[in-house]
Symmetry: C2
Subunit: 415 residues, 2 copies
């Protein structure tokens, strides 16, 4: 293999058809950001959008903005902006509540549709909150479900799907390994066995193309604060296939899910459309930040984003091998690009202090228990040159033993 | 009774010890705002706080702000700012999710504590979302609860509380009538009968003083976008008495309610403190607007706020009688100030077009089905003089028959 040089990466940047999108974001100087899979950076238009909302909509028009500025339709309007990113149709997606709460709703809805079956299948290394929601949901029923959490490769899950399986609930991209689950294959198999599927798209939406509606995916949820750049803790989204929307019900029946909330009836009658998955009143300020994040995607081809994501990742892995081969980093993500999402994880016995040392030098990735360095790849604002700088930085840290300092060992929060 | 004149009201404004707080808010010109019980106006510091969060915390420090800016502790930090407004102790309140979702959590928690009882008591005219949440919760259990919704005066509820009553769930102030429920009396009686109480403080927090902890109230929820001025759809709060926090559990078990979220365990173990009521990741932008809303209350005596609220309301009712006595407005709120919250409702057969006509002239109240004009009283920014102007405006609309125009009959959304 030919040795990569800085100039090779600069050349790739010059040829990058997505390079102009970097200008859409505020990226602090002297930072290389590998944490867009945890919290995306600020889109430039966000501040202006929020200020306009505060000054004009909330400030001047006050309560009237629920109509005049169409706040009341934001859950669906933002959902319709996410729809093309995941291969959904208009009316199949809403933005509301958190990913975990949305998961509670859609798993409940799925279990009601398959109420003669008692098994829920997931993966032991699924994002913990997804498993916790299953536990919480299960604790509410007198008639407990059997939750089976497989420990094998997710794409081997089929042998566990049988006629007792009500729901298969999985992440599209594993948060820790970056492993891609084959949505189409698993969904088709689950349906063949009469099971329903719930996909968590938190780590894949915005970096991969998807085809949810055509595949026939029943339910999905996802996050807007990672690759959609909607702001810290921004509300989640949920998807329900149009064939199911009318017949499903869910238990978090708040007033904005009512067919006619402003009639103030004492009896709950769910909306006939996706609005039945709304519960209480959602934060408009949070929505407006998501709106600006989604606006960036208006003209983007997700195939092109995925192509750049793969190329950035290949360069990353190649450079680690070339520059840091001697330091014991073990690739934890799949080596084959078609099985790997837009993140690269390495195992290393000193992962924690090494990551802290990188962060102190402005290379922001994150650490995951028990020994994992995780680097998110963000094709909209990441340059090939950034990969070079980051890995040279890692090399310096390893060569100088800088990571082995006591102040890199204090534990921080990460999300 | 002596006839009130404009100068009398100006004199009251000059003597008002709270008059300076009006300067803390942005209030559009030519608007008199009686809808602070629906959506509070913008506190002046909100925009600056949001911009700082976007530029510095999210913009420059990115993921690191979960620690550095202490985002991770905002649910409790904001809860601790609400605590003194409701007579709670530090650690008994968190701000998170929506009021409806919080109600689902605390009613679930209460039912688990009283799991040998099968009756839930509420009021038929409670805010509909609260009733819908009971329906949704009830639909999840194989073993249904009996939901009894009383139609009599809320303060006569005691005769329905017996040894089968698990939970009494009521609003402190009725959203439609403004009727105050006697928290102390009902809570004490419920406890005597072995029932637990859940209070919805949405319409009372920020305009009345309360004493939840000392009374021994078990659970409460409330809204931050009305009298706390936290922004459209801002997250709700919940309160759990310190005697119960450690032993209760709730079903919306997301990762930030885990005792150690960043250990990423596959098994859910709830936090031992109030954090066990957090579910998914909350919106930081929404929180920062609430923070600015709550900052206004830092130095305020709730007794003083209540006193002004009563006085404004008395003047309002007196002026309606004096200026609009001939037009058929029937007071729907309690006449006795000690039973009336910070809002005044009138019945009128033409309530809808009259309110639309008022709104068109900048007097912003709201309409509630089927025939109610609702005027919220907001002591922090409302002047006595505003009451005069609003009622003279109403008089003009009635005298000129202006309300009886077809364009005031198109229905709008309101919240």
């Amino acid at each position: 293999m030919k040795t990569l040089k800085l100039q090779d990466l600069k050349n790739l940047d010059n040829q990058d058809p997505l390079s102009a999108y970097r200008e859409e974001f505020y990226l602090p100087k002297n930072i290389i950001y590998f944490d867009g899979n945890s919290l995306g950076p600020v889109p430039n238009k966000t501040k202006e959008n929020l200020n306009k909302t505060i000054n004009e909509e909330w400030g001047n028009d006050l309560i009237n903005s629920w109509n005049k500025a169409n706040w009341i339709n934001l859950p669906q309007a933002l959902g319709n902006k996410i729809a093309p990113l995941i291969g959904a149709m208009a009316g199949e997606v809403i933005v509301v509540d958190s990913t975990s709460i949305n998961l509670f709703k859609v798993v409940s809805a799925a279990l009601r549709l398959n109420d003669n079956r008692k098994k829920i299948l997931s993966e032991l290394t699924n994002f913990p909150s997804d498993l916790y929601i299953l536990e919480g949901l299960n604790g509410m029923s007198d008639n407990q479900y059997e939750c089976v959490l497989i420990e094998e490769d997710v794409n081997d899950i089929e042998k566990y799907i049988d006629s007792s399986t009500a729901v298969v609930m999985l992440s599209h991209i594993n948060y820790k390994t970056g492993r891609i689950s084959d949505i189409k294959k698993i969904t088709k198999y689950a349906h063949k066995k009469g099971a329903l599927v719930v996909w968590d798209l938190s780590h894949s939406v915005g970096v991969m193309s998807m085809d949810l509606h055509n595949i026939g995916v029943d339910f999905a949820v996802g996050c807007t604060y990672k690759h959609l750049n909607g702001g810290p803790g921004a509300p989640g989204f949920l998807y329900v296939h149009s064939d199911l929307v009318e017949k499903v019900t869910q238990p978090l029946s708040g007033w904005l899910g009512h067919i006619d909330p402003f009639a103030f009836d004492s009896k709950y009658i769910p909306a006939s459309n996706i609005n039945k998955f709304i519960c209480g009143t959602p934060s408009i300020l949070a929505y407006k930040a998501i709106e600006s994040g989604l606006d960036v995607f208006d003209e983007i081809s997700m195939e092109q984003v995925r192509e750049k994501s793969i190329h950035l990742s290949e360069v990353f892995i190649e450079l680690i091998q070339q520059e840091c081969g001697e330091f014991g980093f073990e690739l934890f993500s799949p080596n084959d690009a078609k099985h790997r999402g837009s993140q690269i994880s390495y195992k290393h016995e000193n992962a924690y202090p090494i990551m802290q040392s990188l962060i102190s030098r402005g290379v922001i990735g994150d650490y995951r228990e028990p020994n994992i360095l995780r680097f998110g790849i963000s094709p909209l604002y990441m340059r090939y040159e950034d990969i070079w700088s980051a890995i040279i930085c890692l090399k310096n840290i390893m060569q100088s033993n800088e990571w082995n300092s006591s102040n890199f060992k204090v534990r921080n929060y990460v999300t």
